[in-house]
């Protein structure tokens, strides 16, 4: 009875670590995730399910690429850009990668300043993250436009295996959608941070939990996941 009435705010006593800790945390009909709030646990579980979605996309891409008898278009040449009069392979994708990594860096620091309750710095860093994300989506739109003008379609392309277009639009499209949602989420939370909603427990979405800036970390988890997915797409689709 006493156990069920406990709320998140009370620090639990020290618990064992290692395998013994896993057994202790998961057994005996109790909360499995001891020092993690429901919000953070649910974001992790959502990200796990999203991992499976992207895994399925990359798997279907792998299957298409391995089973086709027609040569696969060389991404190094497909995504090359001519800057000046030099043709640089994959340069746009490389820049997009650096932009997304930078956005992850600013996001990690925003989480840090959030827990220090530095409202202005947190909001500024989150908006910087959103700006990087918007830049990324813009460059992706440019890339799509370029490929579509060159004749890439989900069912056909000028360079080789027809499945290239379907895989490309599906994978990068879904990732771009995730980035876009992330940008919107970041701007919404940054506004709340700047306004001080988390300090005054203002009524509204995500603000009800006693002056905690944990939602910044939860937003950060989502954002880092988007970056994480790009790491895999960059390696497996663009570089392979």
């Amino acid at each position: 009875m006493a156990e069920t009435a406990l709320t998140n705010t009370i620090e639990p006593p020290a618990r064992p670590g290692g395998w013994r800790g896993i057994a202790a945390d998961w057994s005996s009909d109790q909360r499995a995730f001891k020092n993690v709030s429901w919000g953070k646990a649910m974001m992790w579980i959502f990200l796990l399910s999203d991992t499976f979605i992207f895994s399925c996309f990359l798997l279907s891409y792998m299957t298409a690429r391995m089973s086709t008898t027609v040569p696969w278009p060389n991404p190094s040449e497909v995504f090359a850009l001519t800057i000046g009069d030099k043709r640089i392979p994959l340069i746009l994708i490389a820049i997009m990668t650096f932009i997304l990594i930078s956005s992850s860096g600013t996001m990690a620091m925003a989480v840090n300043f959030g827990y220090r309750r530095d409202r202005v710095k947190t909001a500024a860093l989150m908006l910087a993250t959103a700006a990087f994300g918007a830049t990324f989506v813009g460059m992706q739109a440019f890339e799509w436009t370029k490929l579509i003008l060159e004749g890439v379609r989900p069912w056909d392309n000028p360079w080789g295996a027809a499945q290239f277009g379907a895989s490309f639009f599906m994978i990068t499209g879904f990732h771009g959608t995730h980035v876009t949602i992330g940008v919107i989420f970041l701007i919404a939370i940054a506004r709340k941070v700047l306004r001080g909603d988390f300090d005054v427990e203002r009524r509204g979405f995500f603000t009800s939990r006693k002056g905690h800036y944990e939602i910044v970390e939860i937003t950060g988890l989502y954002w880092h996941f988007v970056d994480l997915v790009w790491v895999f797409i960059f390696a497996l689709f663009y570089l392979w």
């Binding site: 670590g17 993690v36 798997l59 800036y213 960059f234 390696a235």
Partner: protein
């Protein structure tokens, strides 16, 4: 029994009130994940270095097993840094870390299955759909 329960509840109320007081007065600010900014900057730098390395693999046109192993190595290192430091998984309890990190490993089984499947499809296509000479 009832006396005991009542006693416990009373204790809890006072505890909750206490926690709420400390929160409201602002003496507890260091809840959640607190790590020095420098750590994030170092990881940021490493992610840049690793991304540059994987780009250079393509730039210098490395091929075959060297290319694939380097790409996978840089990919795993970057993913590990992001999950461990940026997403703070290194500091979470193992009960959460294993619950989240083990299931994706099972995807590798799916990968193995689909590799057999696509090899088989490829074989059939070569045998039955080869251009007639």
């Amino acid at each position: 029994m009832t006396n005991f329960a009542v006693h416990l509840e009373a204790q809890q109320h006072s505890l909750q009130a206490q926690v709420h007081d400390t929160l409201a007065s602002g003496t507890v600010h260091t809840t959640g994940q607190q790590h020095p900014i420098k750590l994030y900057l170092v990881v940021w730098g490493w992610l840049f270095v690793l991304s540059t390395c994987s780009y250079l693999v393509d730039y210098f046109g490395l091929h075959g097993h060297l290319r694939w192993s380097l790409i996978l190595l840089f990919m795993v290192l970057k993913a590990g840094l992001i999950v461990a430091v940026f997403m703070h998984m290194a500091w979470e309890r193992l009960a959460l870390a294993y619950a989240i990190l083990l299931p994706p490993v099972l995807v590798l089984v799916f990968v193995a299955i689909m590799m057999f499947e696509s090899d088989y499809t490829h074989l059939l296509r070569v045998i039955f759909f080869a251009p007639v000479t």
